[in-house]
């Protein structure tokens, strides 16, 4: 896998999962930069600022998004994400990550076009590589 072909935004309210996913990303290789956020709000702010800080960039961004978080959940994040500037939005692919066993969560994720994939935790290095390959080749 070539170097730095994809940026990652990590959104998870669990410190352990953030750490774990950062390590997995490192092992998988090819992801940089990695931006981690413990709240969806902070991630949205950062994504919105990209329109100004790197207006010319076309580096794809994978958003690894937890579903169940306090204040704002993954689905609310997605609906807020829709109103970001197109220049940023078009770079992003959202991957939902969850420990949920609720069938309606999976069905809901499948019904939302902005969500590229749904992964049941735990995430592994191989899953991550597979996701990146599919997302980049689909572009």
């Amino acid at each position: 896998m070539s170097k730095n072909n994809c940026a990652v935004v990590l959104i998870d309210d669990s410190e352990v999962d953030i750490f774990l996913h950062e390590q997995l990303i490192m092992h998988a290789g090819g992801f940089a930069p990695v931006w981690s956020f413990s709240t969806p709000e902070a991630a949205l702010d950062h994504l919105a600022s990209l329109a100004f800080s790197e207006p010319k960039s076309s580096l794809p961004i994978i958003i690894l998004l937890d579903i169940k978080m306090p204040n704002m959940d993954g689905f609310s994040f997605v609906s807020r994400f829709e109103s970001l500037p197109a220049a940023v939005k078009d770079r992003c692919s959202i991957v939902m990550l969850s420990a949920t066993l609720r069938a309606s969560d999976t069905l809901r994720a499948e019904a939302i076009p902005a969500i590229a994939a749904f992964v049941n935790k735990p995430l592994t290095v191989n899953l991550l590589r597979g996701l990146a390959a599919t997302i980049i080749s689909a572009r």
Partner: protein, 363 residues
């Protein structure tokens, strides 16, 4: 039971009847009277009455017509019709439409009317109570639903984090573990995760409505095998499905049953068996499907055969990794489908389950 007195609206074009009624019943009930339909409707806008009494014969309309005109807007009050004539067609019609609780002949006997009012009120209260219960039950159900999924998620989250960390430790080889402690931790975590999943499966099985649809046994079996194969890659499967007749049934519960049995057939193989095998057959008939699943695994002690479908039962000599809930779910799902299961097993040699499912193909 109620704090207030029973509220009654009485509609009649003869003022004398209204006055007589008031005189007889004002002590017992809260009475509202109306001479015309317009008056009656105005009163209904303001006052939540429990019982409506109407005269059948009025100058421009009838009691039945009046009840008809208010049934959409005020479905709850219990209706009593007073009539001096036997307008039999109208009466039959309105009683059949369920709009009228009683009809009473004029001139009325006080005790008869009083009885009718008391019965009408009982019915009103019973219906109200039932409605409240239904609302409370729906709310409780919804809360349980939220609780189950929320609790299962919150229990699984830390478990999958631990599994992730174990995977990470394996990948970067940062832990020296000559005694295999990590494997032990992983197997315990996997077991707990399996248990949580089974509890949710049981819950879903008890909640999801039974739906009749066309069932593709070969597809369900192949999906189950693919989902469980990783537990033991040595196992050889032979699948023989002859779906000669269209089979209609509950595909969701059929897959729960087959998935649990296939998973068990793989899980309970002998560790020293050189050729672990699982053989599945399906035959569909006009009225039923017969499914068998046979393995050459550890088998079940004869004395335990009667207990294996009990909740949380684990055959302790052979079952080190089970949750004790899989076969219970199988039995529950089958009883919801009207199916049966039989088991035949020889300890140390293997187990055979035979299932019969009713075919709900339209006649």
């Amino acid at each position: 039971m109620s704090e207030h007195r029973i509220r009654i609206l009485y509609l009649d074009d003869e003022i004398n009847n209204l006055n007589t009624f008031k005189a007889s019943f004002r002590r017992n009930y809260e009475i509202y009277t109306a001479l015309t339909v317009t008056e009656a409707k105005l009163l209904l806008e303001e006052i939540p009455v429990e019982i409506i009494i109407a005269d059948q014969r009025m100058p421009n309309t009838t009691g039945v017509e009046f009840f008809n005109s208010i049934k959409e807007k005020y479905p709850d009050p219990i209706r009593i019709l007073l009539t001096g004539y036997t307008d039999i067609e109208d009466l039959i019609d309105s009683i059949n439409k369920g709009q009228i609780f009683r009809f009473i002949r004029k001139p009325w006997e006080d005790f008869e009317l009083q009885n009718a009012i008391a019965n009408a009120h009982d019915l009103y209260m019973a219906r109200t109570l039932l409605k409240e219960k239904v609302v409370a039950l729906e709310k409780a159900n919804e809360e349980l639903n939220r609780f189950i999924y929320s609790a299962s998620h919150d229990m699984r989250s830390p478990l999958v984090s631990v599994l992730g960390i174990i995977n990470l430790a394996k990948t970067d080889e940062s832990i020296t573990d000559p005694n295999g402690y990590m494997e032990l931790i992983e197997s315990c975590i996997l077991r707990l995760d399996e248990f949580i999943k089974k509890v949710i499966e049981y819950y879903r099985n008890s909640r999801v409505d039974t739906e009749t649809e066309s069932v593709d046994f070969a597809k369900i079996i192949n999906e189950s095998i693919e989902a469980n194969r990783h537990r033991n890659n040595m196992v050889q499967f032979s699948v023989d499905v002859q779906q000669d007749h269209v089979f209609r049934g509950d595909a969701f519960r059929t897959s729960i049953v087959l998935n649990n049995l296939i998973s068990n057939a793989i899980k309970y193989q002998k560790s020293d068996e050189p050729h672990p095998k699982v053989h599945l057959t399906v035959r569909t008939l006009p009225r039923k499907a017969i499914i068998s699943i046979e393995d050459n695994g550890v088998g079940i002690l004869h004395t335990h055969l009667n207990d294996i479908f009990r909740m949380f039962f684990r055959s302790n000599r052979t079952d080190s990794s089970g949750t004790g809930i899989g076969l219970y779910i199988v039995k529950e799902a089958l009883s919801m489908m009207g199916g049966t299961i039989e088991v035949d097993s020889t300890y140390g040699q293997g187990t055979k389950f035979e299932i019969i499912l009713p075919n709900h193909v339209e006649e």
